[in-house]
């Protein structure tokens, strides 16, 4: 096939988007890959090629493994919990109940508030002795807990904040999807005498599947992306108990100024995300019914 003027025109039309895609996605990714096999530039010293030394250092780095395992738990908790919560909330505020607008707004509120502000408020919820949660615990006869200062509780505490923050955001998508479902399904189900659970499980849930895929991908991305509150609440402590991959990456890159090693961590993070994304699309997408 020859290059016709039609082709040239098409490529010209694509050019602006292409420039941005290359400039902000492809070039940084390749530059990161190159940086990851270089030593960190310090002062006058130029970065030198060191092969896979950064990757070896990473495998031997206990803080990296701690952050990776923490991140796995963080993802395993936030993804299902925030999705389940968002469906329940969406189903509830989709019904015709009193104060529906108010409820919808309250559920969505955590999403619109900046994470840094929210984290500062949650610190006081978690404060030992007089914090909100501990006051309730003590009222019920339990002992006060040091949520953020106990290595066994710190990760759970920051996970809960993430779930609380995310659920409202996902609820919006479910709510929108629920409203596109034709009311005739519900009427038919009612005439047939289907139970509420049966109606949800056999009709609403399958029809919501495309939304679920979308939300799942987003939840996965957020589970490695949401670290703002770690900076405010624990700084990854105590003793890295609440450190997540991206948080550690920031520390290495912008506190330790070790660009080479930070790039190595970025490459690994990218690889994990890419694999997870591909698995989701190839396995789940096939089973999903799009209308």
């Amino acid at each position: 096939m020859t290059l016709t003027s039609r082709h040239i025109q098409a490529y010209l039309l694509l050019l602006p988007a292409f420039v941005f895609l290359v400039g902000f996605t492809h070039y940084p990714a390749i530059a990161t890959l190159i940086d990851s096999v270089m030593s960190a530039p310090r002062g006058g010293r130029a970065p030198a090629f060191i092969g896979l030394e950064n990757y070896q250092a990473m495998i031997q780095d206990p803080v990296f493994w701690k952050s990776a395992i923490n991140n796995l738990w963080f993802a395993l908790a936030t993804i299902p919990a925030s999705m389940a919560l968002s469906i329940v909330m969406a189903l509830w505020v989709n019904d015709k109940i009193a104060g529906r607008q108010f409820l919808r707004m309250s559920y969505f509120l955590p999403t619109v508030m900046p994470m840094i502000a929210v984290a500062n408020i949650w610190i006081f919820f978690y404060t030992p002795d007089y914090g909100l949660i501990n006051q309730i615990l003590q009222l019920l006869g339990f002992k006060s807990l040091n949520f953020l200062g106990n290595p066994d509780l710190a990760l759970m505490s920051v996970t809960i904040v993430a779930i609380w923050k995310e659920a409202g955001f996902f609820m919006i998508f479910y709510l929108a999807a629920l409203q596109t479902l034709s009311p005739s399904y519900r009427e038919a189900a009612q005439i047939e005498g289907a139970s509420r659970w049966y109606f949800f499980w056999r009709i609403q849930w399958p029809l919501l599947m495309p939304t679920t895929i979308f939300v799942l991908v987003n939840a996965l991305i957020n589970s490695v992306r949401m670290v703002d509150h770690i900076f405010v609440m624990t700084n990854g402590g105590p003793n890295n108990a609440s450190s997540l991959l991206l948080f550690y990456l920031y520390e290495v890159g912008f506190k330790f100024w070790d660009r080479g090693y930070a790039s190595t961590l970025t490459v690994v993070l990218l690889a994990i995300l890419a694999i997870a994304g591909l698995v989701q699309f190839f396995l789940l997408d096939r089973r999903t019914h799009y209308r």
């Binding site: 002795d129 040091n146 953020l148 200062g149 402590g237 003793n239």
Partner: protein
């Protein structure tokens, strides 16, 4: 004729002004905000006043966020070739800035006797982190130390003399025990003592370690003494406060909520920065006292806070102007007012001799405690690859305080990590 001369001189004057405008030197100045209060407004005021006195220099202050954000912005700008002319950054980042080849020593600009006098005018404790290899890299600007705040009302209730804070570790434990109150079911309603350990526990730990006669790093920033016997003892004492004597909250205590804990009466004594003085003074509903940290082998506290640095890649003319600005900023009267407005320690003894600060101190004597503690103060922990070497200690301290490791194990592990990181600087 007279009229002509007049109009001529007006024209000449306006010509001068316009050439002055053309020859103006612009000094970009990054600064962080780390304490409460209208800091940005005060700094903008300084820039405007300086311009009034020096019409050919325009200082453009840029509020750059927290200390961490400010150094990220400054170093990123430095790496791209266009750094700010000057910035306020943590004094402990001096090694990092030197290793990145980002700053110039002040000695480059010290020419007259007055200049040499000025460099000598600061409290020696504040120069420790900024003077390396016989050069002065940073000028102290917003500096602090750790002090102890105590609740006089709680002292009275526990039968203690409200004018006498604990002066030794033994007294700290004795008084702390008396001040710890429990309800019928054994829950603590008031802790004796609280020392925060989230975020940067090394800084407060330097109180304990210095008091136990341990110095955590050498002046060259190439060696640390994390596993020194005295350092281990110091951590053991901090751990004992909660694990043995049960007068200190268990686990890691939040830095951010500690002043609040004090004002809520949950802790009778706290250690925190002098920078919280104004906040606690305004909000504590009871009478409180401020005291130096208690002594063991000696008294001791680290210094903290930010120094004024000049960047290497800035044009020479801008650097010179920034140097003049630094001199102007640290004049005794201005340093005194800055201290009153913010709670930071004024950086020179001369500032404490100014009428403004004398009057303030007479009204509010706790403002002098930080200064009186300065002779006992040591350099804040700072080494090459500073944040990483410090993180090794932070992790170790938190492991000890949460009971994950023994004091010895925690600090031995920290030492191994720090030694590994510092091997390239030997």
């Amino acid at each position: 004729m007279k009229k002509f001369i007049k109009s001529f001189s007006v024209a000449a004057a306006s010509l001068c002004v316009s050439t002055a405008v053309l020859a103006q030197t612009e000094v970009s100045f990054y600064f962080p905000v780390a304490v409460g209060g209208p800091i940005t407004k005060i700094i903008d005021g300084y820039a405007a006043d300086f311009n009034k006195n020096n019409p050919n220099v325009v200082v453009t202050p840029v509020y750059a966020g927290s200390y961490q954000e400010t150094i990220v912005k400054s170093l990123t700008a430095h790496k791209s070739g266009k750094p700010p002319t000057a910035a306020i950054l943590l004094s402990t980042d001096t090694f990092t800035l030197i290793d990145e080849d980002a700053i110039v020593p002040m000695d480059n600009f010290v020419k007259t006797d007055a200049d040499r006098q000025w460099i000598k005018s600061f409290f020696p404790a504040f120069m420790l982190n900024g003077q390396i290899d016989n050069k002065t890299w940073g000028i102290p600007f917003q500096r602090s130390t750790v002090v102890m705040y105590y609740n006089k009302q709680a002292f009275k209730a526990a039968g203690l003399d409200p004018e006498k804070a604990p002066a030794t570790w033994t007294e700290l434990v004795e008084m702390g025990t008396k001040l710890t109150k429990r309800d019928a079911s054994g829950n603590v309603t008031q802790w004796g003592i609280q020392v925060p350990s989230s975020g940067f526990p090394y800084w407060l730990f330097q109180g304990f370690s210095t008091q136990n006669n341990a110095i955590l790093a050498n002046a060259a920033g190439t060696k640390v003494a994390y596993d020194d016997l005295k350092t281990i003892e110091a951590l053991q004492f901090w751990m004992d406060l909660s694990q043995k004597y049960k007068i200190h909250p268990p686990g890691v205590v939040q830095w951010g909520t500690t002043p609040r804990d004090f004002m809520e009466g949950k802790s009778a004594m706290i250690w925190t920065t002098t920078g919280n003085l104004t906040n606690i003074r305004k909000n504590a509903p009871f009478e409180f006292g401020v005291a130096m940290l208690p002594a063991n082998a000696r008294r001791g506290s680290p210094t903290g806070g930010g120094n004024f640095f000049i960047f290497k890649k800035a044009p020479a003319k801008e650097q010179q102007a920034a140097y003049e600005f630094a001199k102007w900023l640290t004049q005794p009267e201005r340093a005194a007012q800055w201290s009153i407005d913010t709670g930071y320690v004024a950086v020179s003894p001369a500032a404490y001799e100014t009428p403004a600060l004398k009057k303030y101190a007479a009204e509010f004597p706790p403002a002098l405690v930080a200064r009186d503690q300065l002779p006992h103060a040591v350099a804040e922990l700072s080494t090459h690859d500073n944040q990483r070497v410090t993180k090794a200690l932070n992790d170790g301290l938190q492991a000890g305080l949460t009971g994950t490791k023994t004091a010895e194990q925690a600090l031995k592990d920290a030492q191994i990590e720090a030694t590994r990181l510092l091997r390239t600087y030997q």
